[in-house]
Symmetry: C2
Subunit: 117 residues, 2 copies
């Protein structure tokens, strides 16, 4: 039950659901997610590590950024089903839709430069 519980707890958080739904669109770096969600970078990073620990998300170096992406082709049955269900369970949600609109226009180069200014 531990594994199942760990997965369920990982997806039982508003911020992490938002992050996951963003990752359905495309891989994102921490600062892009931060820009869309308007929460601290350290908080985003923490959420991503939780999602990574349960296997829902993986990461990959890309220049000076770290790309986080949804683990769509996981071998784990529970994770497979979770990845399949979440978009259905959250379809039409306002907050999610709003996030998705925002992420389209997000450019990591601009964001990271802007953060310094």
């Amino acid at each position: 039950m531990d594994k199942t519980l760990e997965i369920l707890k990982a997806i039982s958080d508003r911020s992490r659901l938002r992050i996951l739904m963003l990752l359905y669109i495309r891989p994102l770096c921490v600062c892009e997610i931060q820009d869309v969600m308007q929460i601290t970078i350290s908080t985003v990073s923490k959420h991503l590590s939780i999602l990574k620990n349960v296997g829902l998300v993986s990461d990959e170096k890309d220049g000076k950024w770290v790309n986080y992406f949804l683990n769509k082709d996981t071998q784990d049955t529970i994770l497979q089903q979770v990845v399949l269900m979440l978009p259905m369970w959250l379809s039409g949600d306002r907050e999610i839709e709003n996030d998705k609109m925002k992420v389209i226009n997000v450019d990591r180069i601009q964001i990271c430069s802007t953060n310094l200014a």
Copy 2:
């Protein structure tokens, strides 16, 4: 997202997962669940109210007892899928299997009498 989150949080708890899995077997009263799980009656009652609030469980008066039962024929799509998935996600779990063994021999009349002694 609120509704989805509420359901996810309801099933992201070890005690509530154990309770749900017991209710797959048959309707149970609070004291029967208490006897199997060895936690306080008030705690069991609280968990059941959470499960009831999200629609996973319903209750029904039966003499001096209240029977709680799994809402297997819910109209809610998310709940339907949760009810379908949980037994798969928890199949073979030791703690759950142990609970199931215990609940077979549970008799509410004996328990409630015994509790007083």
